[in-house]
Every structure is written in structure tokens, then in C-alpha cells.
Amino acid sequence: MRLTPHQITILKEVGLEVFGPQARLYLFGSRTDDTQRGGDIDLYVTGVHNTVAEMLAGKIRFLVRAKQRLGERRIDLVFAPAEGKTQEPIQRIARETGIAL
């Protein structure tokens, strides 16, 4: 995985602060591939059960705080599907290939 230990620590700290201790963060996408370079930081979040509006507000808080500490970079965050909701293709890939932080 192409994240430094320092970056991982920051992402986990911000995740805990914004989503609480029951949430888990997984890295997926190009940053899991050691042979590539650069690319977005794609994160998959499980354990967050809120309304759509709350999840969106949480996502914005997470991205703002993470970028403040990591510097400006492309970070994207995908939530695990809510109970009873169909899994979107991106959520399936993230769940199958994600590496826990």
C-alpha cells in the first residue's frame, strides 16, 4: 500500500474524530498497488449508520480535516451500503479489495 505510516495515522485519527470508534477505514483503488505512482486516496468506510444528510456532512468534515493535515490532495470516501440498500459496484470492489488501515 502506498501510504506512509504518518498518513495512515492521520487518516485513522480523523476517522475516529469524525465517525467514532465503531467506524473502520479501508484503502482501495490505485494506492493499494505498489507498482503505480500517485493517484487518489480512495477510502471505504464501514460502521457508520446515519441518515444520508449526516453521512454527507461527515464526509465533508472528514475531507476538510484530512486535507488540512495531509495537505491538498485528492481523497475520496465511499460508505458501505446502508442496511437493506443494494450494493453499488464501487462498494463491492472496495469491500473485496480494501486493505484495513
Partner: protein, 157 residues
């Protein structure tokens, strides 16, 4: 000479921001009444309402870009606070310390709100509406931030 150029650029940036702000306000005053945004029933959005939301999103983005890429930089040059090669986030933080920008974090929040609302959610209309409603609620914050910067800028032109 440099100061003169910066002053001219500042004048232009103010004019540009005023225009975006004007059209943003028009779209905002319509959009706050859209029923679909309160109920979350996306199928009730008319084509006309979608056009207004497009206008709102466009002007919101253009206003923030003009502020961040033109207004703020020319103001920093005029105040002899411009540092070449400094990351944008550091510029925002310094602008806050100098009292030009009300809040650097607030600025970043507005930026993410806009990113989320510009994102297409073809499989998740509920998320799309929520992101738009969220953006609309924060239009007055962007306006306040512009009012703050522009009041300082108008003393300098």
C-alpha cells in the same frame, strides 16, 4: 508598478465576483423554495428547477474560484503578503491570520460542499438531493465571506 497591476487586477476580480454573486443570489432565492429539496423526492424536480440548480452550482463555483484565484492573490500582493510557491492552504491560513478571510476551515468546507454537489450520483438521487440542499444552506456563508473580503479589497482600489 507591480502594485498598480495588482490594483487593476483587484478591480477586475471584484467586478467578476460581483457578477457571479448577483446570479448566485437570484438562483438561491428561487432554490430555497423548491419542494423536492425539502422532501427529498427527486422525481418532483422540474426541468426549470434543475436549470436553476445548475445556475446556482455554476455561480457558486465561479464565485469561489474568482475569490480564491484572483481576488485573494491580488489582495495579498497589495498587502505585500504574497509568497511565491506557497501552497494554497498556507495562503488561506495566512489570509485568516491577517483578518482578510473569516475562516480558512470555513473556506475548505465550502469547497468540499461544492465538490460533493457537483458530483453526479446516477445511482443515488437521494444523496444528490442531500448534497444540493446542503450547498444551498451554505450559500449565505459564501456570500458573507465575499462581503468580508470585498470590503477590505474596496479600500485598496
Amino acid at each position: 508598478m507591480t502594485q498598480e497591476v495588482a490594483r487593476l487586477k483587484l478591480t477586475q476580480a471584484l467586478k467578476e465576483c460581483d457578477q457571479h454573486g448577483f446570479h448566485l443570489r437570484l438562483a438561491y432565492e428561487e432554490a430555497v423554495h423548491f419542494k423536492a429539496l425539502r422532501t427529498g423526492a427527486h422525481e418532483n424536480l422540474s426541468n426549470e428547477e434543475i436549470r436553476t440548480l445548475d445556475q446556482l452550482l455554476f455561480r457558486f463555483g465561479r464565485l469561489q474560484d474568482a475569490m480564491g484565484l484572483r481576488l485573494l492573490p491580488s489582495l495579498l500582493v497589495l498587502l505585500a503578503e504574497w509568497r511565491e510557491g506557497e501552497p494554497f492552504l498556507d495562503k488561506l491560513n495566512r489570509a485568516e491570520q491577517l483578518g482578510i478571510l473569516p475562516s480558512a476551515e470555513g473556506w475548505q468546507v465550502l469547497r468540499e460542499l461544492r465538490n460533493q454537489a457537483s458530483h453526479d450520483y446516477p445511482d443515488n438521487p437521494e444523496m444528490m438531493l442531500s448534497a444540493l440542499a446542503n450547498l444551498i444552506r451554505h450559500v449565505p456563508d459564501l456570500e458573507k465571506s465575499y462581503l468580508h473580503i470585498s470590503q477590505i479589497a474596496r479600500f485598496r482600489v
